[in-house]
Amino acid sequence: MNWPLEALLSFLAAGAFGVIFNAPRRTLVSCGLVGMSGWLIYRSFFLIFEDSVQASFAGAFAVSIVAHLLAKKFRMPMIIFSIAGIIPLVPGSKAYNAMRNIVENNYLEAIAFASEALMISGAVAMGLVFAEVMMQLFFKRQAKRIQRKMGLTQE
């Protein structure tokens, strides 16, 4: 696969989604970066383990972490950055194939595709949630450490 090309395309796609969702102008480049990191991690996991469920989990995890960091930096809600990044991971082609097979009366194949699409969307959701919980734990601990250093805790 062609890494620079995929990086550029996923950057452009996520940035374009930022425009569609009307993200603030100065965050558009960051939206693109979030999408790019999510897609590249997804692709590299997919190439190594050849399992799109795990790869989607890793991609969503990366999207959520990067979006969190950017949200802290810009002091804006995290949702602005995470949405554009999640879109490339949505199992559009699996869902399409499932529906196509249903229309053509291949119900068994359709069930296989549909359950894969369901697993992938579950994995994306779990990736988002795991990353969020971990970031919250991390930032809470960091805030406590800073407070202790400055002698602000009442322990």
């Binding site: 395309l9 996923s10 374009a16 993200a23 949702i79 949405i83 082609s93 399409y96 959701a125």
Partner: protein, 251 residues
């Protein structure tokens, strides 16, 4: 709870509800809306306030003895710029940089201004996104212009029908149907190849990504009512897109 005057309290309530309504209409997560409203309330000495946010209405009760207020949310769209602006106003109010009156005026201005870029810019963005996904999903460079054009046409049709009828599922159904027809025409007339990738790339701008993300995050945060109703909205959208495409490829 420190006593504050009647007019000031009314202004504060108007301000919180306006903030909640704008955020909910622009596609923020439910738990963020509740969090923002409670923070603003605490900064105005309303410590025992409760609020309950659903995708279709917001209830806010300032304290036990005061009356509960309610606003209805009619139309929801995605406008992240507004979410960011309301968020920064509420931050300024909580940190004490804005007075209540300033914050309320600012919210009113945000409510009345149209921050969306023009429909043509959005269509162009949808076209670019479709083309990028087409290549990412393994389409060939020769067919790139078709994905670009069809994705843009599908997006603008959905937006225009949504403007006219306000029925989301119908607009998405027609949009997906037109995308399917155009892609099939391009492939069966022999100009383009690879029907599946062409259709998947072109319907990408219609995928309910925001709704799915919000539904999951609301469910995990314990807001089951809004999580389930947003999930239902996402499911309806996905169903409309699927039905539109299925209608075309069943011929």
């Amino acid at each position: 709870m420190a006593q504050i005057g009647e007019t000031r309290r009314e202004l504060a309530l108007d301000c919180f509800l306006l903030a909640g309504r704008i955020m909910m209409e622009s596609g923020a997560e439910t738990y963020r809306v509740e969090d923002t409203m409670i923070r603003m309330a605490v900064s105005q000495n309303m410590v025992n306030s409760h609020c309950f946010v659903t995708p279709t209405g917001i209830m806010f009760s300032p304290s036990e003895e005061l009356a509960t207020r309610f606003v209805r949310i009619n139309n929801r769209s995605t406008d992240l710029e507004r979410v960011a602006l309301v968020n920064s106003v509420s931050r300024n109010l909580v940190s004490g940089e804005y007075t209540l009156q300033q914050a309320y005026d600012e919210m009113l201005m945000i409510d009345q201004t149209n921050y969306r870029s023009s429909i043509w810019v959005q269509t162009l963005a949808a076209s670019v996104a479709s083309a990028c996904f087409f290549i990412l999903l393994g389409g060939s460079w020769i067919n790139l212009p078709f994905a670009f054009v069809i994705g843009g046409i599908g997006f603008i049709i959905v937006e225009k029908i949504l403007e006219e009828t306000r029925v989301k599922i119908f607009a998405e159904f027609i949009g997906a149907f037109v995308i399917g027809i155009l892609a099939s025409l391009a492939v069966y007339s022999g100009i383009a190849t690879n029907l599946d990738t062409l259709i998947i790339g072109s319907i990408m701008p219609l995928v309910p990504g925001l709704l799915i993300t919000n539904a999951v995050r609301d469910l995990m945060a314990g807001h089951f009512v809004s999580g389930l109703s947003k999930g239902a909205e996402a499911f309806l959208t996905a169903f409309a897109i699927g039905a539109g495409i299925a209608l075309v490829i069943s011929f």
